[in-house]
């Protein structure tokens, strides 16, 4: 290690912890807007609880609407956090060090946001605990053959394991933050949460093993969680849902949307906290390549969906997929949503084949917003169109989200950004120790 590297270590600590300094005016504005959106969403939910589910647009035949779309969307967003922190750790992809802390935070906040939606969708939210297996005087138990119960287990395991993984990564960095604490509250918080870490040889020995093992646990978990989410649909017999491609298709889509959200969050964060020297264009290029790869997998899945439907020879499957693409003649159908989705998720990301787009931060930011929109629409199309047109024309119907559902969706973004903004000021936004290891 050279003089230069020693200097780098000091600079890294200073620059990364500088992000936790006194917030600027724009930070307060962003936080204010996010909190306001969140409170609005909560107020609308309260209104819905007091009035009844009738204020939402869901009805027969479309019983799963925007709430379930939001649930799948947010669980999907969560996935790239674990991919970046665990899978890329096992593959020793170096660019991950710049993103893992924020991406893991994003994972936890996205799962928390997602977790609200089954509760919102339940209607009688005060019975939510019925989903958990606990001995009760009715002597009834949840149905473990139901994908909805699998989902409860998958998502709550995912939240717990991601939180543990995140915290473990934070321990050495909290010990650094402890040295730089500016007031007594900060100092004691960091002292308690760094657990008295000193970085002895023995501690590092156990720590490295733990980190590797947790990465090994998290890797199959991330695949299983979105597979289970996809089985919420694929286990049924509804045309458009009942297909074997769903699990890998959902996992790829989750990582695509998650990578897009990482870019959406990291570009402004890098700019506002002046982290340009630490997170370089080269690191963003790594994420852009992931985005391109997953976009290609998603496109392949779109094609395979059609291929399976037509190869099956099943009239309902074929006519459902024709409906998705072409809709019906009267207004209110979903074909435009389908075309926008294909444009956002399959066509626009092809631009990433050009190095100039991959290495342009503004271009990546704009593209990531398009992919976010496209992936939300993908879930909308999968969930809503399939229910709107199943077997019996007599039971067909259209669904349009009401203002309440739109408001609660905006509220969920408010919650997510509020949590992320608080994270930026409370914890080291980049994994200091891991980046230090590079400069030796």
């Amino acid at each position: 290690m050279t003089e230069q590297a020693v200097e780098q270590h000091h600079r890294l600590e200073r620059d990364i912890l500088a992000a936790m300094s006194r917030p600027t005016k724009w930070y307060w504005v962003a936080l204010g807007v996010s909190v306001a959106a969140f409170l609005m969403g909560m107020a609308l939910w309260l209104y819905m609880i007091l009035t009844g589910m009738g204020v939402a647009g869901i009805n027969n035949p479309v019983g799963w609407g925007v709430f379930i779309v939001d649930f799948v969307f947010w669980v999907g967003i969560a996935h790239s956090g674990t991919l970046i922190s665990a899978v890329l750790f096992l593959f020793r992809a170096r660019f991950r060090n710049r993103f893992n802390r924020a991406a893991e935070a994003m994972t936890i906040f996205a799962v928390m946001t997602a977790g609200l939606f089954p509760l919102i969708h339940l209607g009688r939210v005060w019975f939510a605990y019925w989903l958990f297996p606990y001995p009760n005087n009715h002597l009834i138990w949840p149905n473990f053959k139901s994908p909805l119960v699998w989902d409860v287990f998958a998502v709550s395991t995912y939240l717990t394991v991601s939180a543990v993984f995140w915290y473990v990564g934070l321990i050495p960095d909290l010990a650094i933050a402890r040295r730089h604490a500016k007031n007594r509250i900060q100092m004691w918080a960091y002292r308690v949460f760094s657990l008295g870490w000193v970085g002895s040889v023995q501690q590092w020995k156990h720590y490295n093993k733990l980190y590797g093992l947790l990465a090994c646990f998290a890797t199959p978990l991330v695949v299983s969680v979105h597979s289970v989410v996809s089985w919420d649909f694929a286990m049924s017999v509804i045309p458009g849902w009942h297909t074997t491609i769903f699990a890998p298709y959902f996992v790829a889509g989750a990582i695509l949307s998650g990578c897009a959200m990482v870019i959406t969050l990291m570009v402004p964060m890098r700019k506002f906290f002046r982290l340009e020297e630490i997170i370089t264009v080269k690191h963003f290029e790594g994420i852009a390549q992931m985005l391109l790869l997953t976009s290609l997998i998603v496109t392949y899945s779109y094609v395979v969906e059609y291929a399976i439907a037509f190869y099956s020879g099943n009239t309902y499957e074929i006519s459902h997929f024709v409906y998705r693409l072409l809709g019906a003649d009267e207004p209110g159908h979903y074909r435009y949503a389908y075309w926008v989705m294909v444009a956002c998720n399959s066509v626009l990301p092809l631009l990433l084949f050009f190095r100039r787009v991959r290495t342009s931060i503004p271009a990546l930011f704009v593209l990531s917003l398009f992919v976010n929109v496209g992936m939300w629409l993908e879930r909308f199309i999968i969930i809503v169109t399939s229910l709107a047109r199943d077997f019996d024309p007599y039971a067909w119907g259209l669904y349009k989200p009401t203002i309440i559902e739109v408001g609660i969706t905006i509220g969920s973004f408010g919650l997510f950004f509020t949590l992320f903004l608080l994270f930026c000021k409370a914890l080291p936004v980049l994994a200091i120790t891991e980046i230090k290891e590079e400069y030796t």
Binding site: V161, V198, L213, F217, L221, K436
Partner: protein, 142 residues
Amino acid sequence: MQEYRFEDEHSYLHKLQELVDSGVPVRRIHAFSPIPVPAAEQILREKPTFVRVFAIAGALLGMVAGFALCIYTVLRYPLIVGGKPVVSILPFVVIAFELTILLGSLATFAGFLLNARLPYIPRIFNPDEYGTHFTILVEEER
């Protein structure tokens, strides 16, 4: 207590090797670094960590617990759903898998805390700070 502080990894490792070679017993040497230095473990002849034992024990316990939970509950409340057998192993694999991961991860974390002796209360109140330095402390012979 003798203390050596280094700015960089190489002189730290060099000194560590020197101390061990000069016959100082490893149990009297305490070494601290701001980043993990696996080579130091070899010099101090550290034994492999037990954390992995916790991982496998937790994972197996989770798998057994998952199947046990499902099978016990369906036997307590034997409702036939979708014409499937009451004890259907295949869907229970999902629950068992999730609990394998959950208990495996939690047990690994618990194993780390036990092995690394964290949280260490006296150090929370009065942390030893070595900053960005690589530090070696050598205890006096008693």
